[in-house]
Amino acid sequence: MNREEYKGVYVYAQQVDNKVSNIALELLGKAKVLANDLGSEVVAMLLGSDIKDQAQKLAEYGADKVIVVDHPFLKEYMTEPYTQAISNIIYEFKPDIVLFGATAIGRDLAPCVAATVHTGLTADCTKLDIGDFPMTPIPGKETLHKQLLMTRPAFGGNTIATIAIPDFRPQMATVRPGVMQKLPRNREAKANIIEFDAHLEKNNRYVEILDVVKKVSDYVDIQDAKILVSGGRGMQNKENYEKYLRPLANLLGGQVSSSRAGVDQFGIPKELQVGQTGKTVRPKLYIACGISGAIQHLAGMEESDLIIAINKDETAPIFDVADYGIVGDLFQIVPILTKMVEQELAKKAEM
Amino acid sequence: MDFALSQEHAMARDLFRAFAQNEVKPLAQEIDEEERFPSETVAKMAKLGFLGIAVPKQYGGQGCDYLTYTMCVEELAKVCGTTAVVLSAHTSLCQMPILHFGTEEQKQKYLVPLAKGETLGAFGLTEPGAGTDAAGQQTKAVLDGDEWVLNGTKMFITNGYYADTYVIFAMTDKSLGRKGISAFIVEKGTPGFTFGTKETKMGIRGSATYELVFTDCRIPKENLLGKLGQGYAIAMDTLDGGRIGIAAQALGLAEGALEVTCDYVKTRKQFGKTLSQFQNTQFQLADMAVRCDAAQLLVYRAALDHDLPKKSDGMSSSMAKLYAAETAMYVTTKAVQLHGGYGYIRDYDVERMMRDAKITEIYEGTSEVQRMVIAKNLLK
């Protein structure tokens, strides 16, 4: 393999119902930074059916080039035609780096592509840099420059590892949503749009979609919330989320969220779950009520700007990440806290 | 010589522990408070084969040894004394006499559904006037044609009302004394078999303790268990095994109380230190732990003895029960003390554990009876 043949930072521009997902824009933002370090270009891969009109948006968020694969097979996301399309782009254009969002789609698609084209893939990255591999020179071993260094948490965020793919191309990664910053939109930007025939062919890996059932969600995305009041096992039941947490969240202009225990045991909707198998959040304020703080949960919230935890058990791991940890009974504290916050806000309104 | 559990036993213990933590512990406080029989837990245990652990596979059981069953009772008792005794009475007191003394027909008809958990079992020996002195049976059974006719009253019967199959003892010939006692299998729903008072108790309050009343209760002739006049021997053999179940219950209560107390003293602060930092606490915990461990060794030895081909003389099971029961009282009482005022209120598990522990010094042979058995063996 000749590494020099592989050029450009490619981004899979995930779209759902012909609307480009936010994660695609975040990836473009990061790709731009990487491309600047490498002196190469940012290329978006846009797949779908009647999808061309979305290409301009990708340009406005940083794509220098957009490769469009427009095909009826690509209308709804399916593993095999999407894998074929991306793999064929890779064979044709030889990218240096390919990034996917670590979404349900990205985490299905990227490993299939990596297996097909035989390269490495790093899952769920939270940091991407260009640098040397090995990171510190080892005598007798060649130091490769301008490698993609991919940092990811493992063990539910208990450890971090930095991964490189020195001997294979492209270097592939999935990137956790909500971590990378998208660029400010530039409506003047233009990209070179290439329509690519990916030679899609039906095979035994094509599956039949009998039905697509969309969930109607009544919930504001907790990843967008500036303040989260979150409950866990200590909430005891679903009703208590409404009774104790909702009023405080409303006063603070925030949302209610939950640990996995609340979802599994009390029937809190999965959309509100914070953590490894839920969502990663980074609000300005995270109030954890009755959450013990399993590492899978901490992985999803520890980057919050300010963490306040209320828990009866003073040895609860949540206190290891909390800026302020209060040992006590949430059912006694939260109602009084809610009342005091209300009074403070009223005072402020008078001033 | 090796004190380590086999891989199989270690995995079985993990299973029982997981089941106890996930399915039994959450209900322990509630069934105690409401004095409610844990039917839902019994149904779950039935599905997993827990109601037939020590019964051979050919009779629908799991085919495990007595130690495995003992460990199940122990793990259940760590979180709920009630659930442990439901299993112990079912297994030791109802299945075992049918397994050891029943005919092939009786085993097929009664033991198989008991082992599969389709039915629940109980044991009726104690009477208002015949407790420790079991030979003073007043309940009578008279053969009338092809049927035995039972008259009399049994009391303090664990799993009463909820059980489907009862092993009942009655006098068939008063003139022969204890040699005139016989054992019978009686089905719930037999005309003339009714339930009297449900006892309200200090502990194991979710366990159903009923009076059984027999009024001209007619059962088929073939429901005689063992030989005519063999009842007392069957009862003693059964109680010998039953004591291991109760010893395991006592052991579990002690271990459970020690566990929650260790957790508690690490978090509770007084005078700016956690309780665990005080030497008094450490010494108390050490004493509790040593007794738990000693009790476990005695109980496990008794369980292994139970499976030996040579008939046990009752020594190891009596020693296990005596020591485990007194350990349960010792440890739970200390546990309450270390919890202070919180230990005396219902929100804390140790309050229930101490109440549950007391019965283990009383039923299936009081501590005094165990001492009698032990001394008798020493002096013979």
């Binding site: 979404t103 349900a104 299905d108 490993p111 299939c112 990596a114 297996a115 097909t116 390269t119 490495g120 893939l121 899952a123 769920d124 591999f133 990171m135 260094l149 539910g156 208990n158 450890t159 971090i160 590892a161 930095t162 793919i165 890996r205 599956v207 039949e208 979609i209 009998l210 697509v212 059932v213 969309k214 969930k215 603070l252 999965k270 304020l285 399993a294 300010l306 306040i308 003073e314 290891d320 990440v321 909390a322 302020y324 940890g325 209060i326 040992v327 009974d329 006694q332 504290i333 009084i336 005091m340 916050v341 403070e344 | 199989e8 299973l15 084969g49 652990i53 059981g61 799991q62 495990c64």
Partner: protein, 261 residues
């Protein structure tokens, strides 16, 4: 119907994480359990067995001590167990792992291959999809419901905002979510039986159609540049209030300090 379920022994993350000096995981130093998503996959297979009749074979790649989860799987109801273990397979990334598993699965009869979505140690969710590519099987990731209709699997595939109902011809591969089901307990008798059964041990030579260049550390495209325990942000202040009002006042004070209210 033959069902192969791939399971993995993982460190219980409650027990802490340890590394070898070269940056690979020191698995020997950690408590080991069956990965939760894999257990859901096994439960799914056992339910198909209960409903339609099937032979369920569990396969794991790992150290000899992974025998424990194979016994556990058999105690839950799996019929056969395969341990893939060999020194040359160590240090594998998801590419090399999926190549190895494919080599083992090829040696077995299968109509359905089930894996968990992801393991709690690596959290990559890559082995299942990559295995499907190597075996040339259609894949349903994130299966949350399934049934069999003749030669077809009807499965619900969960995505963030929707699910697809898919019809897939067997042989095929499914990855299971722990939401798929509540795994059953072992049975006591099942445990004792499980230890009486033989576990098939496969080494490098037993793998079918796998190149040396695709297994173990040598066959892994990804390499660890740096591994470390994560430095958590330092714990803040822990406050033990006198009562609930004191606690609330303390929090309000902090919120004002940070200009949140």
């Amino acid at each position: 119907m033959n069902i192969v379920v791939c399971i993995k022994q993982v460190p219980d993350t409650a027990g802490g994480v340890k590394f070898n000096p070269d940056g690979t995981l020191d698995r020997a130093a950690m408590l080991a359990i069956m990965n939760p998503d894999d257990k859901a996959g096994l439960e799914a297979a056992l339910r198909l067995k209960d409903e339609y009749g099937a032979k369920v074979t569990v396969v794991t790649m790992g150290l000899p001590k992974a025998d424990a989860i194979l016994r556990e799987a058999m105690a839950m109801g799996a019929d056969d167990a395969v341990l893939v273990t060999d020194r040359v397979l160590g240090g594998a990334d998801t590419w090399a792992t999926s190549q190895t598993l494919a080599g083992a699965v090829r040696a077995l009869d299968y109509d359905l291959v089930i894996t968990g979505r992801q393991a709690i140690d690596g959290d990559t969710a890559q082995v299942g999809p990559q295995l499907s590519v190597h075996l040339g099987l259609p894949i349903v990731s994130y299966t949350q419901k399934l049934r069999i209709e003749g030669d077809y699997v009807i499965a619900e595939r969960m995505f963030d905002d929707r699910h697809h109902v898919l019809k897939v011809k067997m042989p095929c591969l499914l990855t299971a979510l722990s939401e798929l089901n509540e795994p059953r307990y072992m049975t006591p008798g099942g445990i004792f039986d499980a230890f009486k059964k033989e576990v098939t041990v496969m080494g490098r030579k037993d793998l079918v159609d796998v190149l040396d260049s695709n297994i173990g550390k040598v066959g892994s495209p990804t390499q660890i540049a740096k591994a470390s325990d994560k430095v958590r942000k330092g714990a803040g202040t822990q406050y033990i209030p006198e009562d609930a009002t004191d606690a609330a006042e303390y929090i309000v004070g902090k919120l004002k300090e940070k200009f949140i209210i």
